[in-house]
Symmetry: D2
Subunit: 349 residues, 4 copies
Amino acid sequence: MLRNKIPVGILGATGSVGQKFFSLLANHPWFEITALAASKQSAGEKYHKLVKINRNDPNENSYGNFRISECQPDLPCRIVFSALDASVAGEIETLFAENGYIVVSNARNHRFHEKVPLLIPEINSDHLQLLAHQSWSGGKIVTNPNCSTTGLAIGLKPLLDTFGIEAVHVVTMQAISGAGYPGLPAMDINDNVIPFIGGEEDKMEREPQKILGVYRDAKIYQADFTLSASCNRVAVLEGHLESISVKLKSGASEDRIINAWQTYSGLPQKLKLPSAPKQLIHYFSDDDLPQPRRQRDLENGMAVSIGRLRPCPIFDYKFTLLVHNTLRGAAGGAILNAELMVAQNLIAV
Amino acid sequence: MLRNKIPVGILGATGSVGQKFFSLLANHPWFEITALAASKQSAGEKYHKLVKINRNDPNENSYGNFRISECQPDLPCRIVFSALDASVAGEIETLFAENGYIVVSNARNHRFHEKVPLLIPEINSDHLQLLAHQSWSGGKIVTNPNCSTTGLAIGLKPLLDTFGIEAVHVVTMQAISGAGYPGLPAMDINDNVIPFIGGEEDKMEREPQKILGVYRDAKIYQADFTLSASCNRVAVLEGHLESISVKLKSGASEDRIINAWQTYSGLPQKLKLPSAPKQLIHYFSDDDLPQPRRQRDLENGMAVSIGRLRPCPIFDYKFTLLVHNTLRGAAGGAILNAELMVAQNLIAV
Amino acid sequence: MLRNKIPVGILGATGSVGQKFFSLLANHPWFEITALAASKQSAGEKYHKLVKINRNDPNENSYGNFRISECQPDLPCRIVFSALDASVAGEIETLFAENGYIVVSNARNHRFHEKVPLLIPEINSDHLQLLAHQSWSGGKIVTNPNCSTTGLAIGLKPLLDTFGIEAVHVVTMQAISGAGYPGLPAMDINDNVIPFIGGEEDKMEREPQKILGVYRDAKIYQADFTLSASCNRVAVLEGHLESISVKLKSGASEDRIINAWQTYSGLPQKLKLPSAPKQLIHYFSDDDLPQPRRQRDLENGMAVSIGRLRPCPIFDYKFTLLVHNTLRGAAGGAILNAELMVAQNLIAV
Amino acid sequence: MLRNKIPVGILGATGSVGQKFFSLLANHPWFEITALAASKQSAGEKYHKLVKINRNDPNENSYGNFRISECQPDLPCRIVFSALDASVAGEIETLFAENGYIVVSNARNHRFHEKVPLLIPEINSDHLQLLAHQSWSGGKIVTNPNCSTTGLAIGLKPLLDTFGIEAVHVVTMQAISGAGYPGLPAMDINDNVIPFIGGEEDKMEREPQKILGVYRDAKIYQADFTLSASCNRVAVLEGHLESISVKLKSGASEDRIINAWQTYSGLPQKLKLPSAPKQLIHYFSDDDLPQPRRQRDLENGMAVSIGRLRPCPIFDYKFTLLVHNTLRGAAGGAILNAELMVAQNLIAV
């Protein structure tokens, strides 16, 4: 391990989000993987036995012989990235926090704990003030939102700041990678759309209000707009597309909205965090953009792409938004959360 | 030709909608194809040279040696089904009407002519009263709506009748067959969604109000609800899926809405027209239906499938709707229009 | 139950092949489903709870309330169609045969039992003479080949009869439905080809020689040509495509080969069995046919399509062949086997 | 332009191969684009009007305002990369060669000119000796093979050198990008395989013998093995997969074959050319690799992946091979050709 890297572990390292954490962290300038943990059944196996690592990437290859640990709070690291399934994440993450670990979680379990930030570093970095009020023994828990929510919240934030928002109507067309692995049978999704994703609409209708809420006195006061979400699964490998209509409070015009998106920037851009996109929101004036396959990898999958802003006969405006669901919307977003905490000196090392 | 069948022709017989007309009419109990017309360049060729007919279907095979005619009003038939491109449909359809033909058109050109019905037989058969006020010399023109509109209008009609509608917000996920042939390059649409279909949103935002309007004194008074449409193309071969939110006027509940759909029936059902579905609207209570591949062929592609009715935090209710775009939404819909006209004795033969 | 229908059961009725059996048998003119059997865990449940039946098909719907039985030889039927997994099929099928049932199996377990026909009714109906030599107490077992083998054997039979075969080289591009349900994750197969199907190459390299072998004195003498198979999975829903090269013994020309295919006919055609295609092999002279999506449903999926016959620089000739894997290659093939047995009076009822 | 870069132009810069040349050359360490040429109709337009350049890549963006030239031999460059269509490539490439340009062509027209190398730098760099015998006035023409041939020839070369080859049988499953843009309609290829690619089998059956031939006395003596190719198009975006059987002359074993592939290296590796893969051939011992989506981008798409080596009952061995068709098999291969010529001092600048 390099002397100046921070030792990190991955909880749930063998699942699909866990593997995404692995490949992003295997090459990370600040973090060094020192533990790969998974279920009891996997413990003791070499990582490359259970996961197809990229042997052509020397960074990944060097971890192939790591033995998988159990998810017990004796891992030799400071930060744990949690890619655990919701069925076990709550308990295990709490256990790690109580044992002094920094838990950076992609799971949904702690997202609505009142002292846990539901963090998107460009949007609500001030919510990290909640950490001072967490009561786990020395440890901390930070969560990132659901993949679809992440894109939506980023697209809404500049509108909220500039014009105010009254209502948001969103219909998603989500990639199959969002369902993990094995996820959807090809027999179900090929030449098809599935108009249902379990639990997704609830998450999308609740999370943005906390993310876009206001921190005051150790508490988040939720944003008060109404939100309706309808979620569909399409035969796309990566990249969630969203058809969004918004009712704003005042003063919007197409030019002003595009300007609000294009000039929006946050702490990660200012601090030049390793995973931060240079430009958070890319606006496309082409008729038919953004498209999942064409824009999802923009800025290493960490930017959000928007296009097709136009008047809505019912709401004020409608537009199309794209977010890379497993990068910005999951592992990449969580790593950016950890980078921000490091840069803010919130992680004693 | 059988003595008792009505001679019909197809204008634009070599295109993708024209071919759909062909295969439906080659087996039709009331109609007999007596003319296949296309552009000047195709005229004189045998049909099977330009179009892959199904030689295993004796009905189709018997037409393979037909010579293609030009689109001139000297075709030996009473009805012409128009699958012409909008760039030429207006002029040619008018020419045929002026020469005494019944023009049953799938093209958009005459849809907003104030004396031309925009017809869905189960919804607005009374609009056929407009025919008496058309002033072409003996001929008549009837149109069917855009494919996405057709499904939407069918889903809305029972709601309009029972509760009244104030606003409709629809986001579509449309099949590639809607773009005709060759249509979309696989390099564009595979592993992708294209959030734009030229002209489609305009059609969807204008056509339902005419279809659902009221006929009085030789005029259609448009329905007065507001409509917002966002149209996307997905990698599905056939079947347009629509995420719909509606604001109703009064008295709705989930049970009453489902009941309104399931009990809705129109003249085609009463008259048992050959192409009419037995049940116009099928409601599915499964979490994840309707789906394009699973329900599109229901009742030979002439039924509309609906599911996922649930409250909408912004509007009153939201639901998912599926329509077979090239059957109910194009050729099949037009043929049902012609069947209704025959059954109503509007076509002198 | 209709008085004159033969009572049949399905073993493994809830799996993907079992469901295909169900939908074909629910509408069958000679057979009546009287038992649906599956694993102990499913036993007692209503069929429609575990399987999505087609409620719009009155034939299917009438079976929805059937209770699933265990696979014990007390089912109220004469024939059992086995769609069991190979891990349990051997034992259960033997048990049923020993208890007097006619077992018509799609599983691989008994295919190489020396007294069990590996039957394709058009190819080797004389192999049914083996039944007289089976020694289960009153019951009988008949198997159909692997899906890819079925198409291959049908394409080869007329060549073997007319010219003799020395060697066959086949590369397959197989549909995902061949892997059952859930089968392949969309994350694995979309925008991809998987050049491996476990056990498939072995089956394809062994089964054709038995099918095309000669029955004499209670024994099958295997055909003696060499066969090499390479199997690939492609993102197609139904229909296995095969690139085949053959070395023939004598007298072949393109015209003679095509003629051999087109004039080939078997007992099912002569007896007009309900599931028999009128024409077993359809030859297409178009450059680019057969194609899975365009020809798979030919003759209700029971015909085999061939095209692109041309000289091979190494072998004599090469061509492309298509077979519907879940119809002709699985459930449909097995049902045709049973029909032949009934027509041959091999099933006392 | 940087002082030490070689000025290059692209002929046919707006087509799909031309665009691939553009994006590879816009970032090239040795070459600088100084001309973008296309058909007369496009001439005069800004490049970004006709082609979607990547504005986020500063290298690409700087060329967006380039005006497109006609394909006339007055372009301000030393090398022209030809991505021209075969219908015009022959004449235009000759014209440029006669006017002193180095023509590095991806078109098929000059591939069988007896003084033109059909070059794969790792395989037959000695064929560049032909250049001294070309008789165009100062200019030179070098070609790269068809995309499928490129992968095949690379896989065969170590076998030819080590064991000798008697016969090769190949069946391809080729990506849709090989058909250019717009290429295949999604309505044709989705949920389908097309067992035909015009002209492809001829190219694959002729080109390898020249590539693998021996240079002596200003002439190429073709390799003398027999080759049979069957070409199929599958719904994959990039990456041609090939099922190959080979008959070798002597001394082969699985271990020796794998060793021959893994130790094979050529001049580009020795000279560390910018586009050369470090390891030309990657052998995978996994059951189910290589796969187009998983391995196509290996070494920036310039390596060839092989797996599944096993005995063939007819030939000696069979295996599966993957090549990135638009990188190694087209634009990337051509650029590597030019790099080799520069490194060999064959281009006076």
